[in-house]
Amino acid sequence: MTHSRVRNYVMTWIALLVLLAITCGTSFIPLGRYNLAINMAIAIAKALLVIVVFMRLFKSAPMVLVVAVIAALDLAILVCLALPDFVVRGW
């Protein structure tokens, strides 16, 4: 039980370092817009690993999950309502 948990943490850490290597490595390959997409996808994946495994999001009180989701939604509101204005302003 104990060892499996510690192993989980170590595996997560290895996964994080592998993701870091991928994001760093691919950025030296010219992929145009896909570089940005890969970088952002990997950053989100790393953040989720940390939140779920290290911060034990799903093993905390249900309210904690609600707080995390609300914070994410609020940020999404800022981005989703403000960003389009900068994009479509020229129309």
């Binding site: 914070a71 609020d74 509101i77 309502l81 389009p84 204005d85 900068f86 479509v88 129309w91």
Partner: protein, 561 residues
């Protein structure tokens, strides 16, 4: 609950001492200055907040008085243009951040939330005290900066004016507001955690008084919106100090980015100001009508709906700003949506009177004043949400009148009503209801006198933040200035009779209004840890029964004099 009597720390009086002749309470537990300035008692911290926000209210009010004096003549003869600009900036900054935002949450909320949910204190008492020190430190710092040099950006700090063109003490004021923002966040965090974790046995979510619901929703907005303001202020500082182009197009920035970020905070901030007021008024009307609040659950959901929708409407401040037309349409639609829960609340307050036994005490007069002024303010908000009308009305006195109806007519009325309603609980003294009713009526009259003409000025096309104006606007401006004098008198009056009651007022009974709610079941003023025995809740809120009404409340209060 069994560990209660053994698990208490420090200076808690033993339970039996609560019932002796001069009961020990939070006010007479200790008298030293240190016992106030280092207190962890939410009730004492609430009073620290109340005293400080009152001081700032009168400083901000003094600025407003000078503004109105200056506007009595078209040429603005009283002060110079620079001074005028600094005055309205000072008025806005002080009233928004140092009075309205902390007004109800940090005073009445701080005092009452633990009492209403049956807790001994907030979850984080030291954080609560930290919040007060941050607030006082930040606001005194700002006021010194504003009096020593002044700031002329308006409370909105629009870039690039604030970042590149103003020659005044912008950075200091930003720093002060930043620190006060942290105070808001800490208060909000404390209230959320308290409501979640410290409710008494039996106090389910749908037994919470609407006041607590409102504080909870407000706290959520404080926590989620304030950090965006904090970051905006940091970015303004960075551009101003280091010339990094974030907002100023000359450096490669985008001025609308500032407006988006600023209003992302500042529109929800309007709800930070008015939601707690709605909570107060729900309590006041139910208690004075001796009637359960009409549609309690609807009222609770309406509070949450307003808080959520409040985050989706900020772009209605930017209809003529050069924002995309399509963004304008979306934000206009959202703004109409937020009007629905607000309207439902007004209807439900009105319906709460139905089949009641209404006593017209001072708190009730303030509450009715709130409903009236909030209704007018809310209805005129619909003009501003209507895109084509907003094009004409925005940045005119119509907007000034609109938000003063909400924030002064609404929030300040509710705040004063709440202070009057819970004054016996907070201080243990009664005040002169006759004077209080007089003040309430005076304020209502003075308020309409001051601000109704401003709607007409706005429709006629007078822009806001004008130090001088064309002569055809003078009549209405003089009316408004005259009303401001009545209003100023109305605000000074409660200081006198409430101050008098502190020393000479009759001792208040535990429940002078015959109201429901846990805060009325503990003595006035409450003991240090709020309840002699931990309350257990078995009833829904506002359980005003017909039987309880056979005893006439007015008589009960007469008996205490």
């Amino acid at each position: 609950m069994s560990i209660l009597t053994t698990g208490l720390a420090g200076d808690v009086p033993p339970a039996h001492s609560v019932r002796v002749e001069t009961p020990s309470n939070y006010l007479n537990a200790k008298f030293t200055i240190g016992s106030w300035l280092a207190t962890h008692d939410h009730k004492r911290i609430a009073i620290l907040f109340a005293v400080s926000i009152t001081a700032f209210f009168f400083i901000g009010g003094a600025a407003a008085t000078m503004i109105r004096l200056d506007l009595a003549t078209p040429a603005g003869d009283f002060v110079k243009a620079e001074t005028y600009n600094k005055l309205f900036t000072m008025h806005g900054v002080i009233m928004v951040w140092f009075f309205l935002i902390p007004s109800i949450p940090a005073t009445l909320g701080n005092f009452l939330v633990p009492l209403m949910i049956g807790a001994r204190d907030l979850a984080f008492p030291r954080l609560n005290l930290t919040s007060w020190y941050l607030y006082v430190g930040g606001s005194i710092f700002t006021i010194v900066a504003m009096i020593a040099g002044g700031v002329d950006t308006g409370w909105t700090f629009y870039a690039p004016f604030s970042t590149m063109f103003s020659n005044t003490h912008v950075i200091y004021v930003l720093a002060g507001v930043f620190v006060v923002g942290f105070s808001s966040i800490l208060t909000g965090l404390n209230i959320i955690v308290t409501v979640h974790t410290m409710r008494a046995p039996g106090m389910t979510w749908f037994r919470l008084p609407l006041f607590v619901w409102a504080q909870y929703a407000t706290a959520a907005i404080l926590v989620l919106a304030t950090p965006v303001l904090a970051m905006t202020l940091v970015l303004v500082t960075v551009e101003r100090l280091f010339g990094i182009g974030i907002f100023n197009p000359a450096l490669g920035g985008d001025p609308l980015l500032f407006q988006h970020l600023f209003w992302f905070y500042s529109h929800p901030a309007v709800y930070i100001m008015v939601l707690p007021a709605m909570g107060v008024v729900s309590e006041l009307i139910a208690a004075s009508a001796h009637n359960p609040v009409f549609g309690y659950k609807t009222m609770a959901f309406a509070i949450i709906a307003i808080a959520v929708l409040g985050f989706l409407v900020w772009g209605h401040h930017m209809f003529v700003s050069g924002q995309s037309m399509y963004a304008g349409v979306v934000f206009s639609f959202m703004s109409f949506l937020v009007a629905i829960p607000s309207a439902v609340k007004v209807f439900n307050w009105t319906a709460t009177l139905w089949h009641g036994r209404i006593t017209y005490t001072a708190p009730m007069l303030y509450a009715l004043g709130f409903v009236g002024l909030f209704t007018i303010g809310g209805m005129t908000g619909l003009f501003l949400a209507s895109l084509a009308l907003d094009v004409h009305l925005t940045d005119t006195y119509f907007v000034v009148a609109h938000f003063h109806y909400i924030m002064v007519g609404g929030t300040v009325s509710a705040y004063l009503g709440g202070i009057h309603f819970w004054w016996p609980k907070i201080t243990g003294r009664m005040y002169s209801d006759r004077w209080a009713r007089f003040a309430a009526i005076l304020l209502f009259v003075g308020f309409n006198f001051t601000f109704f003409p401003q709607y007409l000025l706005g429709i006629a096309g007078m822009p806001r933040r004008y130090h001088a104006y064309p002569p055809e606007f003078q009549t209405l401006n003089v009316l408004s200035s005259a009303g401001a004098l009545i209003l100023a008198l109305g605000y000074l009056l409660p200081l006198l009779y409430l101050g008098w009651s502190l020393f000479r007022g009759a001792r208040a009974p535990a429940n002078p209004w015959d109201a429901t709610g846990l805060e009325w079941q503990t003595p006035s003023p409450p003991p240090v840890h709020n309840f002699a025995t931990p309350p257990v809740v078995t009833e829904p809120p506002y359980a005003y029964r017909m039987a309880a009404l056979t005893r006439d409340v007015v008589d009960a209060r007469e008996g205490t004099r």
